[in-house]
Symmetry: C4
Subunit: 324 residues, 4 copies
Amino acid sequence: MSKKVGAKISKLEEERNRKDSGFGTATTSNRARLILPDGSFNVKRKGQSFSAWLNLYHRMITMPVFEFVLVIAFSYFIVNLVFAGIYYSIGIEHLSGIDEQTQFVSPFWGAFFFSSQTLTTVGYGHISPLGSLTNAVAAVEALVGLMMFALITGLVYGRFSTPSPKILFSRNILVSPYLDMNGLMFRMINERNSHLINVKVNVMMSRNEKDETGKLTRKYYNLALERDFIQFFSTSWTVVHPITPDSPFFKETPEKMAASDTEILIAVEGMNDAYSDSVHVRTSYLYNEFVWGRKFVPILSEKGTGYIIDLDKINDSMEASLNS
Amino acid sequence: MSKKVGAKISKLEEERNRKDSGFGTATTSNRARLILPDGSFNVKRKGQSFSAWLNLYHRMITMPVFEFVLVIAFSYFIVNLVFAGIYYSIGIEHLSGIDEQTQFVSPFWGAFFFSSQTLTTVGYGHISPLGSLTNAVAAVEALVGLMMFALITGLVYGRFSTPSPKILFSRNILVSPYLDMNGLMFRMINERNSHLINVKVNVMMSRNEKDETGKLTRKYYNLALERDFIQFFSTSWTVVHPITPDSPFFKETPEKMAASDTEILIAVEGMNDAYSDSVHVRTSYLYNEFVWGRKFVPILSEKGTGYIIDLDKINDSMEASLNS
Amino acid sequence: MSKKVGAKISKLEEERNRKDSGFGTATTSNRARLILPDGSFNVKRKGQSFSAWLNLYHRMITMPVFEFVLVIAFSYFIVNLVFAGIYYSIGIEHLSGIDEQTQFVSPFWGAFFFSSQTLTTVGYGHISPLGSLTNAVAAVEALVGLMMFALITGLVYGRFSTPSPKILFSRNILVSPYLDMNGLMFRMINERNSHLINVKVNVMMSRNEKDETGKLTRKYYNLALERDFIQFFSTSWTVVHPITPDSPFFKETPEKMAASDTEILIAVEGMNDAYSDSVHVRTSYLYNEFVWGRKFVPILSEKGTGYIIDLDKINDSMEASLNS
Amino acid sequence: MSKKVGAKISKLEEERNRKDSGFGTATTSNRARLILPDGSFNVKRKGQSFSAWLNLYHRMITMPVFEFVLVIAFSYFIVNLVFAGIYYSIGIEHLSGIDEQTQFVSPFWGAFFFSSQTLTTVGYGHISPLGSLTNAVAAVEALVGLMMFALITGLVYGRFSTPSPKILFSRNILVSPYLDMNGLMFRMINERNSHLINVKVNVMMSRNEKDETGKLTRKYYNLALERDFIQFFSTSWTVVHPITPDSPFFKETPEKMAASDTEILIAVEGMNDAYSDSVHVRTSYLYNEFVWGRKFVPILSEKGTGYIIDLDKINDSMEASLNS
C-alpha cells in the first residue's frame, strides 16, 4: 500500500472513531439543548406530508385522558349534527313519532336525538324512520356508529397497551466523592410497581470544542460507568461515572462547562417483564444542572419482612467534600 | 501513570468487578428475602404519584377473573344509579312509559332500568325519553356506555394477551451427588402446552459477609452452571450448579448458610414461540429451602409413540449419599 | 490444584461440552420422534392444573375458524336458554308483548327470543320486561352480553395478531453431490407474501449411541452448515450441511441410520418485518425421510421485470450421482 | 488430513465466504431489480395455498383507508341483502309493522332495513319479527352482526398497531468527495415525529461478474460504512461508504456499472421507542440512480432554542469535484 493511501486510511480511521450521537457536529451561536428533559429530541420537522404531520393515531394515543374524552365527545356531537341535518332536509315527517308526544325544543333537535339513538345503536324506537330514503340514511348511520366505536375501542386499547414506564431521574447530577477519587452521579427509580429487569444505561457527554483548524465543533464522548447493567431494577440505582484521569470530565470546572455548552445525554433500556415489552427512556442534564460537592442520601429502608423505597427522597443529598 | 493513580484505578476495578444484583449492599438486622417465591421483588414504594400508585390498567389486568367481573358489575351498578338520579331529578314524567304498564317498585327504579337499557344500548323503547333535556342526557349516557364498553373490551384483550407463562419450580433446591463431585440442583417444568424455546437461566447467590473493615455487607455471586441454555424447553430441566473448589458454595454447611442469610436468586428467560413473546420468570430459594443428600427422581416416561411428563412428580426425590 | 480436583473438573468439562437439545439422554425400546412434522414437541403433560390444561384462550386462538364460530354459536344458544329459563320461571306475564301478536311456538321460545334480543342489545321492544325483577334480570343479561362480546372481540383480534408464518419444508432431506464432496440438503420457502428477514437456521442430529459402558444413550450433534443466516428470505433457501470428514454424518449409511434411530431437528428463526414479530418454526426429518443420490431442481424463474417462485416444485428433485 | 480432503475443505471455505443476500446467484438476460424502491422483494409466488394467497387479514391491514371502508360498506350491503332475502322468503307478513306506516318502495326493502337494524343491533322496533322462525333468523343475524363488528374492531386495531415507519431516502445515491478520497453517499430522514433509536444500516452491492469458467453469476459484497450505527436517529443521517482501495466499488465507472447491472441493497433496522417496536425498512438503488460529483446540502438549521429539519431538502445537492 502506498504512503498516500495509508494517510487516507488513517484519516478515515480517525473519522470512524469519532463518536457521533446522531445529532451531528454543528454548533451554533446560541446552543440549544439536544434532548429535552422529558426525553424527546429537540428537533422539529418541516415539510412533512400531511398524514405524517397529523399522525392521528399517535396523537390520540399520547394526549391526556381528559383531552381524549373531549375529542370523542366533540366528534360524537358533530357527527350527530351532520346526520340530523340530513334527516331534517329529507323531511321531518319521515321521522314518525317526533310530532306526537316528544316535546322537543324544535323538530331539528328531534332529528338530532334520533341520530344519536341510531349512531349509538340504542334505537328506542319511539322515533323511527319512515320511507326508504330515511331508512337508508339510518342504515348508513348505524354502520358509521359501529365503525366509530371500533375506532374508539382500538384507541382505548392502544392507550392501554402502549408501554409507559415512569422512571424518575434526580433533578441534578452530582459531583461527589467516590472511593478515593470523585464521581459524576445521578439517581433513578422505577416509579411503577412493575418489574424492570436487565436494565442498561448509556451516558454520553457532548460539548463544543475547537478542532485543529480552530473551528468550533460539537464533540461526543462515552462516559465509562462503574456499572452499566443491573439484572433487577427493583429499588433505586445511583449511576456513577468515576472521574479517572482518562475521563473527558477530568479537571472540568463549572466555568469551563458553561463555556463549552456541556450536556450529558442519558439513554436507559430495559425489559418490563409483565408485558415482555422493551423499555427505552432518555433524559439529559445541562451544565447548569450540575451540583458540586454533594452526595445522595440513602433512600431504601427495611420495614417488617420487606423493603421500602421512598420516592420523595430521590433528590435528597448532603454536603460531601470532594477528593482531590 | 503515577503510583497513586494506579492505586485509585485498582480500587475502581475491584468495585467494578463486584457483582451487584440491583438490590444493593445494605444488610439489616432481620434480613428480608429479596425475591418472593412468586418472582416479585420484596420492595414497596412510598411517595408514588397517585396515577403510578393506582396503575388502574395493570391492576385490572392482573386481578383474578372473579374480582375483575365484580369490579365491572359494580361500576355498571354505580353508573346506572348516577344516571337514574339525573333522570329522576329532571322529572319522571319525562320518561314516557314508566307509569302506564311497567310495574316498578318505584318510579326511581323505572329510571334505573331505563338507564341500564340506554347504557348497554339495548333500548327496548317501552320506556323512552320525552323532551330535549332527557333526550340529551340519554344521548350522553349512550356514549358513556360505548366508551365503558370500549374500556372493557380493551381490558379483556389485555388480560388475554399478557403473557402468563407458568413455569413450575421444585419446592426445594437439593444438594445431590453429581458426576464425581456434588451439585446444587433444582428442577423446572413448563406447565402449559405452549412451546418455550431458547431458554436461558441465570443463578445468583446472595449472602451477608464481613468486609475487611468487619462491616457486614451483602455480597452477590454468579453460580456457574453445568448448562445455562437449552434450545427446546419441552420436558423438565434440572438445572445444576457443580460445586467445584471455585464455587462460592464450596464447603458450605446448613449452619453457615443460616448465619449468612443465604438466598439463591433465579432468573429464567425464554421465548414463547406461539406468540413470539419473550418470557421472564424469577424465583428464589432461601437457606431453609435447601435439602442435603437427596436427588431428583426421573419424571419423563414413554407412552406409545410419544413422551409423557408427570408434573405431580416435580418434587419427588430419593436419598443419595453425597461425594466427599 | 490437586490431581483429583483436576480429574473432576475434566469430567465436568466433558459434561458441559455434551450437546443437549433439551430432550435429555433417555433412550427407550421403541424410540419415538422428538419433534413432530408440524414442529410441536412430542411430549404430553400429566398432572397439569385445570386452568393450565384448559388454557381456554390458547385453544380458542388456535382452533380452526369453523370450530371457533361453532363454539361461539353454541355458547350463545346456551346462555339464551339459561336466561329464557329465568324469565320463564319469573313468569311469562312479565314479558309484555308475548301473548298478543307474536305467534311463538310456545311462550318459552318467546322468552328465548326476548333473551337473544337483550343479549345482543338489539332490543326491538315489541317484547319488553314488566316489573322490577324481570327488568333487573334483563339489565344483568345486557351486561353479560356486552362482556361476552368483549371476549369475542378479544379472541378475534387474538386470532388475527398471533403470528402464523407458513414456511414450507421439502418432504425429504436429500443426500446430494455438493462441490467436490456430498451434502445433506433440505429446501424451505416462505409461502406467504410477507417479508421474512434475518433468518437463521440451526440443524441438529440426534441418534442413539453406546457410551463407554455399553449403555445406549441419545447423543446430539450440531451440523455445521454451508451458510446458517440469510438477510432476505425472499425466494427459496436450500440449506446445506457439507459432509466433511469432521461431520458426524460422514460415512453414514441408511442401515446405520435406521439402527440408531437418527432424527434431524431443525429450528428456524427470523423476523416478519410487517409486524416486527419474531418468527420461530421447527421441523424434523426421521431416518426414513432421507433420499440418497438426488438433488433439488431449481424453483425460481424470471418473468418480465420480476422473479417467479413456484411453490409446487418444492419437492422436485433429479437423479445425481454422489461424489465418493 | 490428506491432500485431497484439504482441497475439498478449501473449496468449501470459499463457498462459505461467498456473500449471499438470499436472492441466489442466478443471472438472467434482462436483469430485474431485486428490491423494489418501496422495500418489497421483486418476487411473486406461484402455487400458494388459497389461504396463503388470500391472506385476508394482511390485505385488510395494508390496504388504503378508503378501500378498507369500501370493503366494509360493501360487505354490510351484501349481508343485509342475504338476510332480507331470507326474511322475504319466509314471508313479509312475519315482519309486523312493514305494511302499516312505513312507506317503503317495496316490502323487500322493508325487510332489508329491518335486517340492517338487526345486524347493527339498533333494533328500533317499529318493525319487529313475528313467529318463531323469523325470530330465530333475527337472533342469528344479531349474532352475525356482533361477530362482524368484532372483526372490524380487530381489523381497525390491527391497522393502528402495525408499525408503519416512514423513513425517507434521498432519490439518488451520490459519489461525493469525502475526506481526502471519495465516498458513496445517500441520505435518510425519519419523517414522523416518533423517536427512532439504535438504528443500524447494512449496505450491500450486487452485480454480475464472470467467474473463472467465464459464466456470469451474481455476486454480493458488503460495503463497509464510515459508521453503521447511531444511537439517536433524530435528524438526518448521511450514510457514507468510503471508496478505499479495498472497496469493491474502487475504480468503478457509470459504464461498468450499467454493464454489470449493479444494484445497491439497503437494510435499516431500529427501535421505535414509543411502541417498543423494532422497525425494519429496505430500499435499493439501481445503477441509473447514481449521480457522480455532487454532494448533499445541509438540511438542519437552528431556530430559537431548538433545531429544524427541512424534509423538502432531502434531495438537495451541489456540484463538488471528486478527489482523484
